[in-house]
């Protein structure tokens, strides 16, 4: 048994190193990857390591950037840089959780649809179709209006209803095609359970595609999350990029030239993080699918 596990990990490790090598050669991927790492470090390690001061100081409202406050102060005198550093963790964590939920739903029900076939397959495909057609953000906003969200986990669960349709279809297609192949037939012949087949035979083949879809899930979740916060549907907790954006907007920081930093900091933080994720994701796509590499 240990040799199988060993070979499993060795295979995974060699693929990881190959990916790393290709990523370094691709310039966009390189920038994207390190930008993502930068934001993750800023959001999760930053609060522990960097000096963050969230004290209000009504004598220093809307101060321009200075050595004391690198990004200036907000409408209550707080340091914007500190708010930006502290604000990433919440948003990113919720997005990660939502993407994980999405991926889990997609894999489970996609494989189920492919294995069960018939009625179940039809029903699952029907639901997928409906979710794909209904405009996603209004649907989420309306649902958030009914279900009064009280904590981050509920928010993540709601957001998890977003991105699973495309991945579900892909998983279902893959499982359907692999179902007839030899190695699955032999696994079935050896009387190994369905779970074994999914996890040991099919998923490793799809790992790249799942990873790419996971990152797309993160971007979708972040888009919807900040949108919901902006509409005022999520109970406010301070120091969160979305909340910062919402407060800055309702305080009219966009219309006053002195408060430029307050409105731009969350906007740029969110926008740049999304950009980094998508750039990194695109280069992953190019690496895993050589046909997508820009050919003349």
């Amino acid at each position: 048994m240990s040799t199988t596990l060993q070979s499993y990990f060795l295979n995974f490790w060699s693929r990881l190193t190959t990916t790393w090598r290709l990523l370094n050669r691709n310039r966009a991927g390189f920038i994207g990857f390190w930008a993502v790492v930068f934001f993750l470090l800023l959001a999760y390690v930053g609060p522990l390591v960097l000096p963050v001061n969230m004290a209000e100081n009504v004598n220093q409202i809307y101060q321009p950037p200075s050595w004391h406050h690198l990004l200036g102060t907000d409408n209550e005198g707080r340091d914007i840089l500190s708010e930006t550093i502290l604000g990433g963790g919440g948003v990113i964590s919720v997005s990660l959780l939502a993407a994980a939920i999405s991926t889990f739903i997609a894999i489970t029900f996609g494989a189920l649809a492919a294995f069960a076939g018939g009625r179940t397959d039809h029903i699952i495909l029907g639901i997928t179709d409906i979710i794909l057609t209904i405009p996603q953000f209004p649907l989420l906003a309306v649902l958030a209006g009914y279900v009064h969200l009280s904590n981050a986990a509920e928010l993540a669960a709601l957001l998890g209803l977003l991105s699973w349709p495309t991945l579900l279809r892909a998983v279902r297609a893959e499982v359907l095609s692999l179902r007839e192949q030899d190695f699955v037939q032999s696994a079935r012949g050896s009387d190994l359970g369905t779970g074994h087949i999914i996890f040991r035979e099919i998923l490793p083949n799809m790992f790249a595609y799942i990873a790419i879809n996971f990152i797309i899930g993160i971007t979708n979740a972040m888009y919807a999350q900040v949108g919901l916060i902006f509409l005022g549907l999520v109970p406010l907790a301070q120091a969160n990029w979305g909340v910062m954006l919402s407060i800055a907007w309702t305080q009219g920081a966009a219309f006053f030239s002195g408060s430029l930093s307050y409105i731009l900091s969350p906007v740029l933080a969110i926008a740049l993080f999304q950009l980094a994720l998508i750039t990194f994701n695109r280069s992953l796509e190019e690496i895993f699918n050589p046909r997508l590499r820009t050919e003349g």
């Binding site: 179709d129 409906i130 794909l132 057609t133 209904i134 405009p135 996603q136 953000f137 209004p138 649907l139 906003a141 309306v142 649902l143 958030a144 209006g145 009914y146 279900v147 009064h148 971007t219 972040m222 888009y223 900040v226 949108g227 902006f230 509409l231 005022g232 549907l233 954006l245 907007w249 966009a254 219309f255 006053f256 030239s257 430029l260 409105i263 731009l264 906007v267 969110i270 926008a271 999304q274 950009l275 994720l277 998508i278 750039t279 695109r282 050919e295 003349g296």
Partner: protein
């Protein structure tokens, strides 16, 4: 005589052509299937709002009724009646009757009444605000499609030049950044900092004092107020069209018939229009679904940012204030619009591309 007889015999004993029954052929017809599917989706959405209204713990109707009884001292029966007028769901009837009544009301166009704007029918509100969103969204979709397609083709013909690289990068950037952030940046950078336009004047659908009528002043004013949302929609979606068109054109350029056309001596322009362009556009129709959903979905936030009073803005306000009948009515109309738009795009696509017509 025998000719007549043998003819009659031939008719009577002819081998029957094996045709599928009419029912089966109807059921397999792609167009009918699509239409049925669209109706089904709308039906599911209406049932979903019924479910959310009525059967969820903390159902809004129950809360409303309890509120009327507790705060205003209204008798329970009377409160239920009032709620029934607003939500089109009468709590006193059995569940199935409620459901049936709800659906019938819907088909008659009765979407209930607003909780907060006393006495306003939801359908009235929708009719008042929907045209503005249709106006801006339709213009945006057409503009971004045309711009995207033209840019995409040009990028494909000039691939790997600096023009191609810059536009591809710009397209990706504008696609990745959330559209409402682009909207905020337009206001902050071009309106407030660079002062290219007066932000205050561009709010709303119309300037005050302008009366809706079919004259140039009205249309010009409406366009003036819609231009910022339109620019935002176009900026964030044209790039995607361009990139898809680019890759589709590159693929088409590699096809044999293009080579044959060139060798036949046709001008580049004719090839581009008649051969390459026509065939490259086809895959874009599949993207139309996503684009419509994206633009309509984004309108909820973008209209709020630009204070453009369309249906997206109404939905945002209603959700914020928990005005449930308005929420559901607008959501239903939004879904209906998207479903109809997708159906139209699908049907046009079927007309355009004979390859995907299933045999009948």
């Amino acid at each position: 005589m025998s000719v007549v007889r043998s003819t009659i015999q031939q008719i009577l004993h002819r081998p029957t052509v094996q045709r599928e029954s009419l029912w089966r052929r109807v059921a397999q017809n792609y167009v009918i299937k699509r239409i049925v599917r669209s109706i089904f989706i709308v039906y599911i959405v209406t049932s979903m709002t019924f479910f959310l209204d009525r059967l969820m713990p903390g159902s809004p109707i129950q809360v409303y009724v309890n509120n009327l009884v507790a705060q205003y001292g209204i008798a329970y029966d009377r409160a239920v009646q009032m709620a029934a007028a607003l939500f089109t769901i009468n709590l006193k009837e059995p569940l199935l009757v409620q459901y049936g009544q709800y659906m019938i009301d819907l088909l008659h166009g009765n979407l209930g009444m607003s909780l907060l704007s006393q006495g306003t029918k939801v359908s009235t509100m929708i009719l008042q605000y929907l045209p503005w969103t249709l106006f801006s969204v339709t213009i945006s979709l057409f503009a971004s499609f045309i711009i995207g397609v033209l840019l995409g083709m040009y990028m494909a013909y000039r691939r790997e030049t600096w023009f191609d690289h810059i536009l591809s990068t710009l397209s990706s950037v504008f696609h990745s950044v959330p559209n409402y952030l682009t909207a905020i940046m337009i206001i902050v950078l071009f309106g407030v900092q660079l002062k290219w336009f007066q932000v205050g004047q561009m709010r709303g659908d119309l300037s005050s004092g302008v009366v809706p009528s079919f004259n140039l002043q009205f249309v010009g004013d409406a366009l003036y107020h819609a231009v910022l949302p339109i620019i935002t929609y176009v900026l964030t979606t044209a790039g995607t069209w361009a990139l898809t068109m680019r890759s589709s054109t590159i693929r088409t350029l590699g096809e044999d018939y293009v080579l044959v056309a060139r060798s036949r001596g046709l001008t580049d322009r004719r090839i581009a229009l008649a051969y390459v362009g026509r065939n490259s556009i086809l895959p874009l129709f599949a993207q139309f679904t996503i684009a419509v959903g994206f633009v309509v979905g984004g309108s909820v936030l973008i209209e709020q940012i630009f204070v453009y009073q369309g249906i997206g803005w109404v939905l945002g306000q209603a959700i914020n204030q928990r005005d449930y009948p308005v929420m559901q009515g607008v959501f239903l109309i939004i879904t209906l619009s998207v479903v109809v738009a997708n159906l139209l795009a699908d049907l046009i696509y079927i007309k355009l591309d004979p390859r995907i017509r299933t045999q009948d």
